[in-house]
Structure formats: C-alpha cells, structure tokens
Amino acid sequence: MENDVVIRSEGLGKRYMIGHQSASEPYVALRDVVVHKMHRLGRTAVDLVRGRPIVAGDELEEFWALKDVSFDIKRGEVTGVIGPNGAGKSTLLKILSRITEPSEGRVTINGRVASLLEVGTGFHPELTGRENIFLNGAILGMTKKEIKGRFDEIVAFAEIEKFLDTPVKRYSSGMYVRLAFAVAAHLEPEILIVDEVLAVGDAQFQKKCLGKMQDVSQQGRTVLIVSHNMAMIRSLCSRTIVLSAGSVASDGDVDDGIQQYLCDRDATATGILLEGRKDRQGNGRLRFTDVYVIGKSGVKNVLYMGEAAQIVVRFSAAEIVKTCDVSIHLENIWSDTILRLATRETTTPFYNLTGEGSITCTIPKLQLLPARYYVLIAASIPPAYEYLDYVSHAAVFEVLEDDVYGSGKIPEYGAFFTECEWRTGS
C-alpha cells in the first residue's frame, strides 16, 4: 500500500437476507392459519439447528446493501459520502468502523480509526454528566488519560458546568446532546468516521459543532463524513463519494458530486417523466414534455444562489397553436408561489407553435435563497386563457448556498436576497 493511502476499499460488498410476507391470498380459515404457522415453526426450527438467523416472512431474498465499492482515501483528505436514503452510506461506515464484516471484497486501513455513528453512544441515564464523559470517552476509544486531559475543555464546550454531578436523565434534551457531542468533538484519532451526527441540537450549537469540525478537517486529519446537509459537505469536504443503490455513482469533485446526488434524488423522487404525467389539466392541444432549470454548470435543476438561470420548457403540439401564453410559477416546498413569470405580463404571446419545440425563459440573476423549489407550468390561449396544458410540480430544483454578499455568511430569512447598501444619517 502506498504510504499516503490510508483507506483502500476493493470490491466491497455487503449482503443481507431479508424476508417478505408472501403475496399469496391471506389466510382466512383456521386450518390454513394453523398449517401456515406449523410450516413457519418448522422452518425456524431448521434455521435454529443450522445456526441461521431467524428472518420474518415466508420468502427470503438476498439484498446487497453494498456492491463492488472501491475507492482510495489519502491521508488528510476530508471526504463526504452522500447519496439518497438506502444507498448504503451507513453500511459502508459500519464496515469501515469494524462493526460489521463485509460479505465480499476487502478494506485496508492504515491508522487509528475512531467512528462516531451516533451521538452519546453508551450514555447511561442514571450516571452523572461527569461519569458519562468518562464512559462515553472510553467507548469512543479514548484512554482515561486523554479524557482527563481534555475534561475541562469538554465541559466548557458542552456548557454544562453546573450540572456536572446531576444524572443525565435529569438533563434537558439540549443539554444531553451538547454533552454527547462535546465528548465526541474532542476525539483525536488519525481517521475520523462521522455519520450524520451534526444534525442535532439548536442552530447555535450546530454552528459551534460545524466550527469544531472545520478545525478538525484543517488539522490534516483524514475524515469521512456522511451527511444530507449539502452546505456542510460543501464547506468541509475536499472530495465526495456519491453512493447510489449500493455502488459508487461518482467520486471526485465536491460540487459535481452534490449535483449528481441531487439529480439522482429528484429522479427517484419525481419518478415519472413529465411526458407521462396524468395529473394535468388543459385541452391537450399542446403538451409539455420536459421542464428543467439550468444554471452555469449545465447540470439540470441545480443552481447556486444568484446565478444566471434558464428555465427550459419543451413541448409538442400536434396541430398549430396560433397564440399561446406561457406562465411559470416557482413554488416553495409549501406550495406558496414565490415568483410568477408570465408572458402575458412581460411580453407578447407566442404565435404559431407546432411540432416539437422549446421555450426558454432566461433570468440574468435568480436571487432566491437556498432551498428546494418546484416549477408549475401552464400554457393557455388568450384572451379567455383556456388552458392548453397545466402541470404543477413539473420540475423540482435546488438552489445551493453561496457567499453572495462576500461576507462569509449565508442569508437565512425571507425568500429573496438582493444587493443593498447601508449608511447612517443624522
């Protein structure tokens, strides 16, 4: 193994056996139920004798949570592992932290690993804060000497000085989480593996944790983070591995990875292509076949704050549509319209649309705050505005954080941002 590769994964796979209830008719008659139960009992008895785990359900299926995962991680790299739920992120971390064994392939790890898959692992409610610091520290792999050396720092970080000798079952949930994170934050391994643990506590404490994580990543330690928080991944990581359905979908640049992940997620979330959508209104003389929002990067439906954006609408019309007004609503996740762009207010209608074609609406600077937005699209015939086609949630796009004010801070409140100047007067 080369000197600077600290984690090497080769063809890693993890298989689980899962049980299903068979799809056949439900058991109604008592006789059927009894026969069925006896059958199950027989099978579990066989499992027991052969030493196999008992799986619920009547049909067994192999399920590969990870399949053929290979990557190298170099010393000092901060890598984000992202992917939709069920992509195998947590399984990967569990294998790397030795909790579970791979079913195939191998991992070679070069250095002392500490993993943080949960905040406050092993905390005991009956023990005091002080006792739990030692217990949790030891569980996370710190020696007693190390814990003693950092004890004051941990207590100060958690801000629980007054309650150090109170059993943690009397703590508020905020205090509990702060203490748990404080212990974890003071781990100093060569390789740190973290699973979505920063999503705890109040916003202020989260920022403190993020700061601490940033310190860690700047100390040249190798870190592997799983998170759904793209802003965090973007600010901490130098590389991302995108997992999708148990295998590596992309590996490399952070922004590319994030975009890949968001595209994957929306493909699975929306599921149906716009063309096949049935939940639409209108007389159908014109149909939208595709809608997407595109920014500088050229990746569909992912933009950074303040980027120039194009909303591209593809349509098909069997016969000529003489006049057509198009309106595009951008909605937030609560379906409030944030912005409506309509040809009838901004320009003239389109004339004589026919066959396949596209309509593009260009916005020089889309000043939305980072969030997820939905596109509602409608085409209608003036002056009565009879709908040709009308689809809500036709597309979904994500606006990602960017330091638009150059202040290092991301605007949090409201829906929009805009340039502004401040001055005082008498």
């Binding site: 000197n3 064994e101 392939g105 191998r106 070679t108 070069n110 993993s115 006792e131 030692f134 007693k144």
Partner: protein
C-alpha cells in the same frame, strides 16, 4: 513523507494500537485477538464499573439487596432440608453455615450466568454503534457478580465467627475455587449470550436454568447425601465440584473433597469454556447484523 510517518508511528505507540495496518475481509479471523482484547482493558474496566454503579441506583436499601437474597434463601434451605427433611450436615458443621458456604459459590455462578447471558442484548446500542472486542461485555458484566460475592462473603465471615467455625490452612485454596466458579459459569454464559443475540428464546431459559440448578446442585444439602453409585455421574454438573471445594476450603475439610469428581468437573468446565469461547468467536463478527 518520512518525517510524517515517524511522527504517526510514535503517536500510535502511545495509543498502543496493536496493528498498524488493518485488513477487513469476509471471514477473516482476528489475528491478534488476545492482544486486541488486552488493548481494550480500560473499556473493560469502565464497563464493569458502570454495571456496578447502576446496579443499585434508585433503590432504598441499595447494596443490602446483595445480602438479603442469599440470607433468606439460606434460612429457607436450613428449615426445609435441615429441620424438616433432617438431612445430615458435613461433620460437625452447623447446618446454616454449611448451606451458606455452598450458597456463596452458587450465587456467584448463577449471577455470572444470568448477567453475562443477557449482557450482549442489553448492550445492543453499543454493539451496533462502536467496535470493540465483544468478549469484553460478558466479562465485564461478571465483575458485578464478583463484587456482590465479596459483600456476601463478609456475611459468611460473621456467621462463621458467630457459630465458632474457624477455617484452617485450606482457606488458601479458596481463590482457586472462586476462579473456578467464574470459569464454570463463563463457558455456558458465552455460548448462551451469543445465541441470545440470534434467538431471544434464551432470555426465558436462563431464569429456569438458575432456578432448577439451585435444587440440582448441592446448595441446600451436602453432596455426601448423594448415593455412592451416582457420585461420579453427579459431578457432570460443574457446580458440584465448585461448591464442594468451597466447603472443603472453609470448613476445615469436614466436607470431603472427592478428587475423581473434581477432575471430572475440571474437564467439564474446560470443555464448556472451550465450547462457549469458540462459538462466541465464530459468531461475534455477525452480532451487529443480528442484534
């Protein structure tokens, strides 16, 4: 690069990392199992301490519970076996003292068995979230039993003073039999705790074994009561040798130590321990998936 490597190696030594390069593969046996176990001794100590610290939290009489249970059982056994059934004691030893000297190792055995057997399942949150050699958990939980044993032992000393039964030189062998009691229990306990991860049925079997075992083992009576022809067969129960050994050490040899029986006991204990250990080691890599 060379400088960096040296620095990290030094740091590693400070942390006593047993192996610099770790390879994780399907079915790979842990090559440094015992060394790995040793490097986690601090965790062992702290888990044992935790189990002791929380055992009597939020109870009124606290650690006194460790005394009440054996004391009451001893009284009942003395009345039933000694007074009602008129079973003989060993030599001139008062019946309560004989019962209590047998009760101690039995309590040690059964507490280790029940604590260790449930230990993995009751620490499921640890097993599924952090790595450490799993053997630590059942072993640490048996420390509780040893602490309780020490407390009950004080009671036995008081009782022996009260009845004027003083031990002789044989007491120096007592630590051996204490160790034997723990080992006798740890073998089956490791087997059962590993099975318990997969099949929770064993959680219900343990209380039964403990209850049944107390009457099958010579706790309330002397093993001399057993007819001659069954003597050796009776020693297949590993606790018999331990209880006899305790009485022999404490009661000036007035309880006879049947040597062939003891050897058989040692063989049974070693076999159970080997069986428990090997099953535990074989299955411990899958604990996190099954628990």
């Amino acid at each position: 690069m060379a400088g960096l490597t040296v620095a990290i190696t030094k740091k590693d030594q400070a942390h006593r990392t047993p192996e610099r390069v770790l390879v994780l593969e399907a079915g790979r046996a842990e090559r440094h199992y015992w060394r790995d176990l040793w490097s986690y001794r601090e965790l062992f100590a702290i888990l044992a301490w935790r189990d002791i610290a929380i055992r009597y939290k939020q109870t009124v009489i606290g650690i006194a519970w460790a005394l009440v249970r054996p004391l009451l059982t001893m009284l009942i056994f003395t009345v039933i076996f000694g007074r009602l059934a008129h079973l003989p004691s060993d030599g001139a030893v008062p019946y309560p003292v004989m019962v209590f000297a047998g009760m101690l190792p039995w309590m040690l055995f059964s507490t280790v068995l029940s604590e260790a057997s449930n230990s993995l399942v009751s620490n499921a949150n640890l097993i599924s979230k952090v790595y450490f050699p799993r053997l630590i958990v059942p072993c640490a939980s048996s420390v509780v039993a040893l602490v309780e044993f020490a407390i009950t032992f004080i009671l036995l000393v008081l009782m022996m003073l009260w009845f004027g039964v003083l031990p002789d030189f044989r007491i120096v062998f007592l630590p051996l039999f204490i160790a034997l009691a723990v080992l006798a229990s740890l073998g089956p306990a490791l087997y059962i705790t590993a099975l318990n991860v997969k099949y929770r049925d064993f959680r219900f079997i343990i209380p039964f074994i403990v209850q049944f075992g107390m009457y099958v083992s010579p706790v309330g009576f002397s093993s001399a009561v057993i007819p001659e022809k069954w003597r050796l067969l009776y020693r297949l129960n590993p606790v018999v040798g331990v209880i006899d050994g305790f009485r022999w050490c404490l009661l000036r040899g007035q309880s006879e130590l049947y040597m062939p029986g003891l050897y058989l006991n040692l063989v049974v204990i070693a076999a159970l321990l080997w069986l428990g250990m090997s099953y535990f080691r074989k299955t411990e890599r899958t604990f996190a998936d099954l628990i």
